[in-house]
Symmetry: C2
Subunit: 219 residues, 2 copies
DNA sequence: ACCTGAACACCGTTCAAGT
DNA sequence: ACCTGAACACCGTTCAAGT
């Protein structure tokens, strides 16, 4: 009816008659903001991301952003959620392409470290505690859980095929996560400056991890 | 001569004649600021620490702080430096009190995780990347290196006594640090909510670590 | 629906001035 | 030596108003 047209008439009018001081973002503004936030975090770190500069870069007023995100934390949560989704994809790909065997498990560990080192600021948003655990955003929890589940599934498969000890796979996955997370942090903090040092550590730690999972319950 | 007295006369005058609106901090202001910053970080996290509130809590004007720290980053570096010193003390104590043997090595790992979990905000300042690696504050680097050296020394001793494989002790120490760091991060992010889950993981991971170090070079 | 502009309360930091 | 008070340039966030 009429009301439907009224709803969109401003869009029509503005696109047809405005002297184009700024193009409107129709529905893709959210994604444009996320993309630009990604770029800013990548180049200047989380502390370099301010909503005002983000808006200016996208070509939008200060408050336009609040149509799509409740506040800055909500935007960071969205960034972290995307990061977890991307990480899970990388992990699953390495595991499946490697043939779901102990060697593929090592490839999965290497993929984890690589993701963190190639996206350090992203990784910090995901694990740096900027997002207080009270902010239990369901999508974030679900996406983070999905990435962790990829590890649990891989370990359960190794167990089924006789490659891994039969402890609780969740405990084994937590241990595996701790190892790769620790290695990744070493790499991110750039405390390993010597070329090859991170690769050496990653290889060693992941091999230690694999051998430890293979070790029988009582040594 | 006269100039010496002139230098301190204001202190004399102010302590004797002022109607005590605010007590002066003679030389201990720096420590008072660090102590209060510690308390604020502990209760509200790093993002809860603002220089203005810090000054107000200590009872000092906004700019007084700049007599002791170049800027906010310098204050955080000082906090991190203290943290590393404290951590090293805890590690060395656990190692020596335990008798410098494999069991003591486990105690050292547990002490590490305990330090992180009991001082989560401190720990984040130390490792959260708030301090960009470019800011190579010599004291911070030295104190952080000291804590790491405690690990290297312990592993070298284990090697000498036939308890650990003979790889490069620095590599072994990096691996050990990665493991306990990863476990600590799990605990800090409170992703392990179930009671006892963190203890279970810490015990498992540290035992994996110890067994891995004991394993001979070629399994 | 989507955006603007001004305003508010808060930052870190500086600097001339005070005791 | 140590501190104050005002100022500057920046934040995140809100809200009435515009198209």
């Amino acid at each position: 009816m009429l009301s439907v047209d009224v709803v969109n008439i401003w869009t029509y009018v503005s696109t047809m008659t405005r002297s184009e001081p700024r193009p409107y973002h129709h529905g893709n503004l959210r994604q444009a903001l996320l993309n630009e936030a990604d770029r800013m975090i990548r180049s200047s770190g989380v502390e370099g991301l301010t909503l005002r500069r983000l808006g200016a870069r996208v070509g939008v007023s200060r408050s336009a952003l609040y149509r799509h995100f409740a506040d800055k934390r909500a935007l960071l949560i969205a960034v972290a959620t995307d990061g977890f989704r991307s990480l899970r994809e990388k992990l699953v790909e390495a595991w499946e392409r490697g043939g779901r065997n102990p060697e593929a498990f090592r490839a999965m560990g290497a993929a984890y470290v690589e993701f963190a080192v190639r996206n350090p600021s992203h990784y910090r948003v995901m694990f740096g505690g900027f997002l207080d655990p009270e902010a239990r955003n369901p999508e974030l929890v679900s996406e983070g859980g999905g990435a962790f589940q990829a590890l649990v599934d891989a370990i359960a498969t190794l167990q089924r095929d006789g490659y891994a000890r039969l402890d609780n796979p969740v405990l084994l996955a937590r241990h595996a996560w701790a190892v790769v997370h620790g290695v990744a942090m070493f790499g991110i903090d750039a405390q390993l400056r010597e070329p090859g040092a991170l690769e050496e550590l990653a290889e060693f730690s992941i091999e230690q991890l694999r051998a430890g999972l293979a070790r029988t319950r009582k040594e």
